[in-house]
């Protein structure tokens, strides 16, 4: 399988504090990766580096063989290929669901309105929400909003999707509907990097689990191996706390 993302010795500091250090990671096309670890371990920062929302300080990041080096053109190219879903949805509240979905394809990809709307309706259908296309985001439930956010990212037809704790801000009964959509997306062959605490999802979908602590990758393993026989003490500790 061909490589789509490569991180070499990536590091990032906030002042004297090292958020990330010495991260090496290679992601193949179609691979599903779940990143987990205690809070403050740098999971979100890591995936925010991949689309330059949090620029890295050290090392190199390549996406589709384009280097993310702060060059505005490269950053723009990569952001078009990498979709992102946030913990807080971040839908544009002043635009309808449909307008949320067509804004970037029209302004960035230069699609016509008709073309962008057709794609948007199709993808809203894929997240089972096409009938809400003309509503405002504030009229939807949290789970519905997050599904719209997934559709909005998909409308740019990205090759990679980043998920930053997509279910952490949801009421428990809405977690399932969002995870179902993510499982369907994984089934369709999308390359996915997910920061999540949903271990059931991780077991079912992930090809590899990356366990992080204190800004470093501590363990990388297939889910069965990671959950049943974690190698590091820190991972064992983390997993035992999840079971409480």
């Amino acid at each position: 399988m061909s490589e789509i993302i490569r991180l070499t010795n990536v590091g990032k500091n906030y002042g004297a504090f090292q958020v990330l250090q010495g991260i090496n990671l290679s992601v193949s096309k179609g691979e599903k990766i779940v990143i987990c670890g205690p809070s403050g371990s740098g999971k979100s920062t890591l995936i925010r580096c991949i689309n330059h929302l949090s620029p890295h300080d050290v090392g190199t990041i390549h996406v589709n063989n384009v280097e993310l080096d702060g060059n505005t053109k490269n950053v723009g190219t990569i952001r078009c290929e990498v979709g992102m879903v946030f913990q807080g949805f971040n839908l544009f509240p002043h635009l309808s669901v449909l307008e949320n979905c067509v804004l970037a394809p029209m302004k960035v990809r230069g699609k016509s309105r008709a073309e962008a709307e057709e794609t948007a309706i199709r993808l809203l259908g894929r997240v089972h929400i096409a009938n809400q296309a003309h509503k405002m985001p504030s009229q939807l439930s949290g789970g519905q909003q997050q599904r719209v956010a997934i559709a909005r990212a998909l409308c740019m037809e990205p090759e990679v999707m980043l998920f930053d704790e997509p279910t952490s801000a949801l009421d428990p009964e809405m977690v399932g509907e969002v995870l179902d959509v993510m499982v369907e997306l994984a089934g369709g062959g999308m390359t996915m990097l997910c920061v999540t605490h949903e271990m059931g999802f991780a077991r079912k979908v992930a090809d590899r689990i990356i366990f992080m602590d204190a800004g470093q990758v501590v363990e990388v393993a297939p889910p069965d191996e990671f959950f049943d026989a974690p190698k590091s003490d820190r991972a064992r500790n983390f997993l035992s706390q999840l079971l409480h």
Partner: protein, 247 residues
């Protein structure tokens, strides 16, 4: 003490009052318009934080907010021609001087309104725009600005009402706006209440027109509950009419 209604009506319909009111409105609209145009880039720059330009602009805003408006008007009208001979030409009228002074003064206040409004937009909105590949300008134009405008409308309307009344200060540089028209009429007839009442009517008409426009703008830029509820209200009216038809 009697109130001479014919004098009041005469003042209300006189050409001098009408022209004065027109000058007041035109000066306010032009000054606020230029003020808003200047204030948006300045607010964005200052909000970006440190560096030479933001600090300089912040200092300038401080001076313009600190100096009395009257002083600024007098400075532009009297002192500017001393520094720059170009302002001694006949085209430099009291109206132009007032327009320059009030635009700068208004820009300074509007910068603070805009800064607050821009900061009220959730930073996650910018993240979402960036993640979708929108450029910095596109994020500002399509994501941040419309959301900040909703926050800025009420204080901006407030600012305009204040400005409308501050234009009366321009009478000191011999601009024939509404208040100086009233004062001139009073000084020859001593019918204070009649002429002041006529001026008051003009000011109130201007302010209430603005309040009406503000309401329209606020409805246009509301996108959450209020619009849903407004739609619900229309439904209630229709239901009531349907009931009446049946009865």
């Amino acid at each position: 003490m009697t109130f001479d209604f014919s004098a009041f009506w005469g003042a209300l319909t006189s050409e001098a009052f009408f022209r004065g009111a027109c000058i007041t409105v035109i000066l306010s609209v032009l000054s606020h318009g230029v003020g808003i145009l200047i204030s948006i880039p300045v607010a964005v720059t200052i909000n970006r934080g440190g560096g030479f330009l933001p600090k300089t602009l912040k200092g300038l805003v401080g001076v313009l907010r600190g100096a009395p408006t009257l002083l600024q008007l007098l400075f532009v009208w009297n002192a500017l021609p001393q520094f720059f001979p170009i302002f001694r030409e006949p085209w430099f009228t009291p109206f132009l001087a007032a327009w320059i002074a009030l635009s700068l003064n208004e820009a300074a206040y509007q910068v603070e309104i805009n800064r607050a409004a821009l900061k009220a937009v959730d930073p996650g909105q910018e993240d979402a725009g960036k993640a979708l590949g929108l450029s910095r300008f596109q994020i500002f134009r399509y994501v941040t600005l419309p959301q900040a405008m909703r926050v800025a409308i009420p204080p901006t309307a407030n600012e305009f009402i204040t400005l409308l009344k501050i234009t009366s200060l321009a009478s000191v540089i011999s601009l024939q706006e509404l208040m100086s028209a009233a004062s001139r009429a009073v000084s020859t007839t001593f019918q204070f209440s009649e002429y002041y009442a006529a001026a008051l009517v003009y000011y109130l008409i201007m302010v209430y027109t603005l309040v009406f426009l503000q309401g329209k703008l606020e409805r246009k830029y509301s996108w959450d509950r209020s619009r849903v509820e407004a739609a619900g209200d229309a439904g209630a009216v229709q239901k009531a009419m349907a009931l009446m038809r049946r009865a």
